[in-house]
Symmetry: C2
Subunit: 468 residues, 2 copies
């Protein structure tokens, strides 16, 4: 039997389609300066939509780059908890344009699919929230939401959120809340509802090895002078042992290992290696022995060689001992690893692997990104999975991990509150690729889950929500 | 007491200077097509000089590239052995021109130095032969040399001798001889006469590793897909053990180890690591444990990474698992290593180091270059060192090894006769660099040594020369 929330959503889905059609026509590509005017228009559009939905407070928050939108709707119950919803209104670039079957900024409905850049990532998901909020009010007969809602919708997520932490610091006083809901992720499949329970942290570096001050003739000097290309190769090779374990001393010291229960849940996720390999266009999996592919990309820390170079790069051969070589490394971190400790360990590892006669230098991208972890089984988590499960006709909700790294960890750290993920993208949504689409029924289910979630959170109250 | 040969040389040294001044003005740079007309002129000049010196047969031998000069002067003693002298008349490019202190093609005498491109490599050395031959005739009172002389003077040595083996095959019948004399090398110092006793062979390859068919997001796929940049790093790292020994199975199987006597002679060579490091602009030596620098570059086989690449090459970081990576390797070989066996061993090694899910491909530069070895103590070797020693006032002649690889091995293989090196360049001659010079007294000593050598070879006779 359908919930009143679902009945409202399905009765008003054309409103969602209408809004999508308008907003998706604005090419707000944050990574391309030519489109920055459109990113401003996109922010203005969402601000106006939030006002129309009933938010009494809607503000454009400028940054040193592109603007965020902030919308706030206090509950008339002054004891109600406050929920901070995060998403983003900017979109990915569309190149190569010739691979699109339809115009990326002319939304096209094809049965239950809607194709356009941003349809899934992230405009479609933000619009399910606006419809879900209306359903929440209609189904509960309220004139304000059962929880105080704060929406923080960033405009630079697709270009690395360069000004997000500063924005959080500037606006910290406005962002007090009891729980954070992230809406920018996906589920396993249309009939396999799931929620993200962790995103990995990240530390990225560039290591330079300098040997002789000029490229040397390998006939005259080869075999007697330390070779920086060999040295970077030995460094990169030393990163892993034969079992795929990272060999940087102390690397795993702080890792919060998966519990048996978590591993059991991971094992139930119906993603098989064949499908993963198809997405990866690879012929084999690899990685840390003793863990599944899903665990490797979601729940285990990794070290990856992103680039390597040095010496002769042209066609054929050139018999030199090169003067310089480099390797670019990135480390994905999981709970409770601290990027600063990892950076220090890697610096020592590089130093220990720098041969005599070679000078090494390293540079890091900032101070790294902390991992983000959602404990399973907390009241906030249970409230979320109950809402999602209801929206999916009672199906169980599986926990997943995202291998990537985003601004969520910063948000979690700044506000210091529990965080959950409500996102309804699908693995084949082609986000960041040509022909992005969204499954419209997923948006309807997302709207219903959001509508139910505000009631669930209200029942828990402030104290209940913060329990861990 | 000076030999008659030396008296003649010193009495006629102005002829040598006059010839040098003419020939060095011809910019016969074989590597640069703009100068190919000059390479032809250079061949014609030497052919005319050989005729003037008395050679009854002088021919220009065309190739698919640039011409060689062939000159033959039969001894009137029909039992006399035949000596094939190898050198080259082309020169290196002169860039960067702004680093020259004098015009590279306006020979400039400065005390006992003569500066010009080709002064030492190789025109000066070929001209000491012409003066030496006149001294030989004058001192012995002969009207033809005591041995039959054949000069084969290549025109493409400085651009890799691409047509030399074909020329040898085409002209093989004309090249019968009893001993080969290579004149294109140097000595340790002005007061440390020496002769080359080996040049290393060479095998050069490019290894390509292909992983996923596209660069992957390391957050989504990292740690679960085989990384070709890691794979090339592990391959390159596996080439050597901690003692600098090459780990390709069978690599050392055929190596003719240095004898204790040879090692004693190497140890006497007054080249120290500090000087070597200054030339190399490096801060440390490295290499196979248990061998000196001179042994490492001259007498030991090596594996060197000449280039490595893959994945992101730009500034900063990019969190990908790259699709492709490569490594360029070269192997220097010593007697009695067979390049074909080494190539097969390396192919197996690469195959054994190709992880599942990675495709490897390899390409080799031709079939490799065989090493060239001059046994110490043969009659031909002793005849050579006796002639050099006399020209250097009785100083002992030390054996050295050249780390590089040249056309000598092909010549040795094609004619199948003993080979010795008579060259008087010095380490600071700046060959292949700006401000090339030659020490004129070294040319005079070379002329005297050549003059004496023909008499020494004649005394040994055909059978004596070929003894090993």
């Amino acid at each position: 039997m359908a919930t009143p929330e679902r009945e409202y959503v399905l009765a008003h889905k054309n409103d969602l389609l209408h809004d999508l059609d308008e907003w998706l026509r604005i090419p707000g590509i944050s990574a391309q300066p030519d489109y920055h005017g459109d990113v401003h228009k996109s922010a203005d559009w969402f601000a106006e939509a939030a006002r129309k939905a009933g938010f009494p407070t809607v503000e454009i928050w400028p940054t040193d780059g592109l603007p965020a939108v902030y919308a706030e709707w206090p509950s008339d119950n002054e004891d109600a908890p406050t929920v901070l919803v995060y998403g983003h209104h900017d979109v990915q670039p569309v190149d190569p344009l010739e691979l699109w079957h339809t115009d990326p900024f002319s939304p096209t409905v094809d049965g239950e699919l809607l194709r356009a850049r941003g349809a899934s990532d992230d405009k479609g998901q933000l619009l399910f929230h606006l419809l879900g909020l209306r359903a929440h009010l209609a189904a509960t007969g309220r004139t304000s939401p059962a929880v105080t809602l704060k929406f923080l919708i960033e405009g630079e997520e697709e270009s690395g959120s360069p000004n997000f932490e500063k924005l959080l610091d500037e606006r910290r006083a406005r962002l007090d809340c009891d729980v954070v809901v992230i809406t920018d992720t996906g589920m396993i499949a249309e009939d396999v509802p799931s929620t993200v329970t962790g995103m990995r942290g990240l530390a990225v570096c560039d290591v330079r090895f300098h040997g002789p001050d000029l490229d040397l003739h390998s006939g005259v000097f080869g075999g007697a002078i330390p070779n920086p290309a060999t040295a970077v190769a030995r460094l990169a090779a030393a990163l892993h042992d034969e079992d795929g374990r990272v060999q940087v001393p102390g690397f795993y010291d702080d890792v919060l290992e998966l519990t048996e229960d978590e591993r059991d849940l991971f094992a139930k996720v119906p993603v098989d290696d064949a499908e993963f390999l198809k997405f990866a266009q690879s012929r084999a999996t690899a990685g840390e022995r003793g863990f599944s592919t899903l665990e490797r990309v979601g729940a285990r820390p990794t070290a990856e060689v992103n680039g390597i170079g040095g010496g002769y790069q042209g066609a054929g051969g050139k018999t030199i001992v090169p003067s310089d070589a480099f390797v670019k490394l990135s480390f994905r971190l999981v709970a409770n690893q601290d990027p600063r400790k990892i950076i220090a360990s890697v610096e020592k590892f590089v130093s220990d692997h720098t041969p005599e006669g070679i000078d090494s230098s390293m540079s890091w991208e900032g101070e790294g990104v902390a991992p983000c972890i959602v404990p399973i089984g907390t009241p906030a988590y249970n409230a979320l999975t109950e809402a999602i499960s209801t929206a999916f006709d009672g199906l169980p909700v599986l926990p997943t991990r995202e291998g990537g790294s985003g601004p969520e960890a910063a948000l979690q750290q700044k506000v210091g509150m529990p965080l959950v993920f409500l996102g309804v993208g699908l693995p084949d949504d082609q986000i960041h690729a040509p022909n992005e689409k969204v499954n419209l029924p997923m948006l309807y289910r997302g709207a219903e889950a959001a509508a139910l979630l505000w009631s669930n959170f209200a029942r828990l109250g402030k104290a209940g929500l913060r329990e861990t």
